[in-house]
Symmetry: C2
């Protein structure tokens, strides 16, 4: 039986009223939600909890979809590149795509909306030199250069909603009909969705919270010809286009977009691409529209006495929660999936809503809730990674999704979640809406996206593991639970406003030429000069992987002078590097010469200048070990005027790396002596001091017992032993 009540949402299930009641009591839940395949049944409306109902804005009315196929959603696709062997070429444009997902747009004039491009030269083929055969789905190109590579940017209609398609195929739903998403920007549909919502209001009086899943445009998700994922970009705007939108864009922004501005060589403006002005304009254009219409729907909810909650996912394109239009939607709440600390912060930090809710893992699905699965272990890991972030900026509510009937078959899991719910409520109860102590300076994460993509850096799909990103994601994952305030800033911010005065440290983390590192921005003298001056005057700079990287003149890392390291890309092999290892430093005080996890690491990095110290190296192989100067630098520091910098070859999340980053930040900002104000010495523990309520939380981030010294107000006040996963609340005197 829960000690405290509330702040917890649970999923419903069919014909389980008694079990639901029991779980409500055990977990102290105060809200029930439906989910895919379950419905809020009438028998639960009297349970005395809030009821959330999923609302699918653009695919709930399939009759509408079928009858208004000219208003289905559209997207731009690029045909698979084909090499021409002569001066003529036939391109089967839908080759490689899933035929059941797309229908080629034969409504709008292809000569106006499509582009055939010679990818060998990047040049557009004149519309006189190609024609489209509607019957065969083939573009015939003539008068072209042989042995060049050609593609077609073309428009399709989306004839199967990606989320339904995904669930349909994954769960083998057989002949269940395919849902087609309609486009709210189209005049008839625009009117219809508002009317439909109003009607739904009347039909669902028992619902307290309308959980929009979501608004209007799905992130980009394309399947291939064997019905598997071909392209998935959780941030992708490609599925939000239409000739109408492009015309309205032209009216609003004063210039015409090309299909190529959306297709972007087939990269479709992945967040890893340094965004073009055109794409940034398009994001702004679409976000403004989405916010405007979403507000109308939210208003309808409010007029009917219901709250409006947005699910951060699925059809969330255009609702950028850190964008300037988002608060104007007037949502009551946002709910999202919590994969770790960073995704927790992504939800919890969203401005302009009354409350936030995190859906924790595991999802109550048969893939985990079976004999070989480990739902308890998953719940613990999820909670451990989220909890440290919750102490920084708590979600208002937590919850679970899936089929409740599955979960209740696992009593240990039920017990574990009970503990989690109690611990979560106890945090709120203790801190009383106050904020934990943070350093007297902010940490800025610098990339091309800045605030717009807060807590979303270096991500491909939501919280999924990729070999190419885990070595960077550790940065925001560590930061999510650290006693520092984090600001996400963009290069454009620096160009327009300089570096915010409250920043103590700037972090630049990513692969060369990506939007996270910065690419072309690092050739901009104003960026370079601004950062150099700022560091010289005492700023701290932390680079991870390939920071400030673009090959230009005599450097690969353009701020090699600030970083004290550069990367060998082959041109300066003739210059000898005398890098010797000096493993001891303030940053490594607690770990000594222990090995550090740099993830994928980085080849060819070496110390340069007069003021660097190489703290770790990857010697790689024996031939390297024979020579103390050999090996790739994986961790180095540098002094630069009054400022300092730190370089890491990679930075996956781990408790050890959390501590290293905290120390790196305090060292970089030249405030080592302030670090131990509120501090625990064991790297597997962390603390959060709530000075306004005189409470300090000490958490054990592992499933083993840990002992740590505790510093309060700069004094080592006691030694504490924490049980596995324990959170202890200490009084501050």
């Amino acid at each position: 039986m829960a000690q405290l009540k509330g702040r917890v949402t649970i999923p419903t299930d069919s014909n389980m009223k008694e079990e639901i009641k029991k779980v409500i009591d055990t977990w102290g839940a105060d809200a029930l939600r439906d989910c895919d395949g379950t419905k809020l049944s009438q028998d639960i409306v009297d349970l005395g909890v809030k009821l959330y109902s999923t609302y699918l804005t653009v695919r709930s009315d399939q009759q509408w979809a079928r009858e208004n196929q000219d208003e289905l959603q559209q997207l731009y696709l690029m045909s698979e590149p084909v090499i021409s062997k002569s001066e003529e070429l036939e391109i089967s444009i839908l080759k490689g795509y899933y035929g059941k997902q797309f229908r080629i747009d034969t409504v709008h004039d292809e000569k106006e909306w499509w582009e055939v491009i010679d990818r060998t030269t990047g040049k557009i083929i004149s519309t006189d030199n190609w024609s489209f055969n509607k019957e065969k789905g083939i573009v015939k190109v003539k008068n072209i250069l042989p042995w060049h590579e050609y593609t077609v940017n073309f428009l399709v209609y989306m004839i199967w909603d990606p989320t339904q398609m995904y669930n349909h195929i994954t769960n083998d739903w057989g002949d269940k009909s395919h849902e087609m998403p309609y486009d709210c920007r189209q005049p008839k549909t625009n009117k219809h969705v508002k009317e439909a919502l109003k009607k739904w209001m009347e039909e669902n009086p028992e619902v307290n919270v309308v959980r929009f899943t979501t608004f209007f445009y799905h992130f980009t998700l394309c399947f291939n010809e064997v019905a598997k994922e071909k392209f998935v970009d959780w941030f992708g705007y490609s599925s939000s286009v239409s000739p109408l939108a492009l015309k309205q864009f032209e009216e609003e922004k004063g210039y015409k977009l090309r299909s190529e501005h959306i297709v972007d060589k087939g990269y479709y403006n992945s967040p890893f691409r340094v965004p073009s002005k055109e794409f940034k304009d398009y994001v702004d254009f679409q976000s403004k529209y989405v916010a405007g219409l979403a507000k109308e729907l939210v208003d309808i909810c409010h007029q009917n006495g219901k709250e409006a909650m947005m699910f951060l996912g699925d059809n969330w394109i255009g609702t950028e929660p850190y964008g300037k239009y988002f608060p104007s939607i007037g949502l009551d709440a946002v709910v999202g999936s919590v994969g770790n600390g960073a995704t927790m912060r992504m939800i919890a930090d969203i401005p302009g809503v009354k409350y936030t809710e995190g859906r924790f893992l595991p999802y109550f699905f048969p893939d985990v809730f079976n004999e070989t699965g480990d739902p308890v272990g998953e719940a613990r890991q999820n909670w451990l990674q989220a909890r440290r972030a919750i102490l920084r900026k708590p979600l208002d509510r937590i919850g679970y999704g899936g089929y409740l009937g599955l979960a209740v078959k696992f009593p240990e899991f039920v017990k574990q979640v009970e503990n989690i719910c109690d611990e979560f409520r106890n945090i709120h109860e203790t801190i009383k809406e106050t904020k934990a102590y943070t350093a007297p300076f902010k940490v800025g994460v610098l990339n091309c996206w800045g605030k717009l993509r807060s807590w979303q850096t270096n991500q491909v799909a939501h919280a999924l593991w990729y070999k190419e990103i885990y070595s960077y994601i550790g940065i925001i994952e560590c930061l999510s639970g650290m006693p520092v305030d984090v600001e996400f800033i963009s290069f454009d911010d620096i160009l327009e406003n300089g570096i915010p005065t409250d920043l103590g440290v700037i972090i630049n983390a990513g692969d060369a030429y990506t939007a996270w590192s910065g690419g072309e921005y690092w050739k901009n003298p104003k960026i370079l000069s601004t950062v150099r001056e700022w560091v010289t005057n005492g700023g701290g700079f932390i680079g991870v992987g390939e920071p400030t990287a673009i090959h230009h003149e005599n450097r690969f890392f353009q701020l090699a002078d600030v970083l004290g390291v550069d990367k060998e890309v082959g041109f300066s092999l003739s210059t000898r590097k005398y890098n010797e290892l000096e493993p001891y430093h303030f940053i490594t005080e607690e770990i000594g010469e222990a090995s550090i996890d740099f993830g994928e690491g980085m080849k060819g990095v070496f110390g340069t200048g007069d003021n660097y110290q190489v703290i770790r190296k990857d010697f790689g192989n024996e031939a390297c070990l024979n020579n103390k100067f050999r090996g790739d630098t994986t961790f180095a520091v540098n002094t630069y005027g009054k400022g300092r910098s730190v370089y890491f070859a990679g930075f996956p999340y781990s408790p050890q790396n959390c501590r290293l980053l905290l120390r790196a930040i305090y060292w970089a900002v030249n405030k080592e002596e302030d670090m131990k104000n509120w501090y625990v010495t064991n790297i597997y523990t962390e603390c959060a001091a709530f000075l306004e309520v005189n409470k300090m939380a000490v958490i054990n981030n592992t499933e083993e017992e840990r002992t740590t010294d505790v510093y309060m107000n700069g004094e080592n006040v006691k030694t504490l032993t924490l049980a596995p996963m324990e959170i202890k609340w200490l009084d501050i005197n």
Copy 2:
């Protein structure tokens, strides 16, 4: 006692006539040479062998150097980059360089010959805005942008010959005077070196071979302020410049070179840089001059009845042995150090000389010839790696260098070299100047340098190990002893003449953007089209590391279509890659699923298109192993029209990789059935068939016994067991 005599040169030593006589007998030597620190003494002129004498063209007369300091050699240096903190800056231009090696040129007008460059923008600072303080060695710059980085390209005189400096410092020669190199292009010196040689002729009648070490300009070798190597480029032309040379360049080529064309952002035109037109012109200009003057010196030798031999090293700049001017020098011979098979071929293949000689390892120096050293082991390894290449194109002579007195203290070593000398002479005796069977197609190695840098690809310093290159050097090292004829071709060759008709396979191996991979050339549609058409029609393409790489449009590997692989650089992470491992292939027939050494490997490579097969992957870590689609492709093949391609992530030298490359070549060219014409099945053995003399050599490339099947004329004729290191000569019936 040697069974055969001749073809062997040994070093002399002081007061050791009897020992020398014994070694001459044991090794069958027919020539004696002096070396650093030893002189040909009068008592050995009657030993009945040829006498080689080292001749230092540009530093033997130090009185001349002292008296003509306006004609000392010069070079361009770039000052270490400095960040300006205001609109003015003082740059101490020689900072970071070794003061005893260089003297700033205060003779020529700095405003004419130097450049101050803003490296943040790449722009030249107007000469009005800087001045040079001769006394302080400082360049003062004004009216500049703060927080930009500035450098000065400036001229210095070389006041210490790099080779003498290196030996002086390494061997602690104390107050032995510093030798200064003089510049033969200067009018007085030009005349002097010829007169000095004539005089030397008269004074050294006993010498048979003048061993030039070498001609006029040293490769670039700069020391830093603590007298250690700062910059070393065995191919570097920076030390061959002077205002006079630059003026003559302008007259000859019709345009003026900038200092920056030599300084090249501080990379000094490393061979890894895609060479500019200007630098290629300069190499041509300097090579032409060097060849002309060298011919005059060679003529003097001939007029005095002596042979002229060039040492391929030290002051060899301008003598590019595969350049168009080299044969015109009229040298009798070239001698060079043999570090492995590729350096052996670099010497043995040189055109336009009567004979070639390889100096084998180890050098008779105390660093190896001591109680802990392993001279026998080094000699064996050196011979094993060179022998397989000798069977393809033998050197005419071999030899050793250093102090003979050291070697004779190691009787096992003396015995080992006796075996080597006998085996070497026996090869010549058996093959009677005929050439071993090679495949009926050539293998082309494609890079920016082509023929000019035959057998010199991907090298930094001569035969030295670098982490960044060993994964590429394996290609030429394997090729050096393989039964294929190799042609080094450049992108310019393809642009001018297309692909040679006798090529069966093209290999492109190197890091992205380097001259070995090709950089900007891979954006040239003519290169792409030519290669695509050629492969489509049956050509074979082998890529190693980052072949055809430059980010452009939708590709990183521009010939991803041909290769069947591309490299993920972050922009297409949203595109799913379904690469499954299929380890069995014709190429891996003899090794099955055994692991393969790809050296440093390559991150992010994945199969693409419809026709690839991924043969090996690097799964990297556990998170990768959980998913069969994850991991970096390290070895893949592709079919492309009638052609085929093979990709390797890296290719260090090993017997296994030799075999893989042979099989990759035969597979790529679609002639698998011809591979076993003359063949041995054990991968630690190789064979060379000399059809004109009906002999086939089978060699054991290891120090263990090996058994192999032997194919002759396509038939498996016998099983053979070879002793460690053995060479067996079989009769061909």
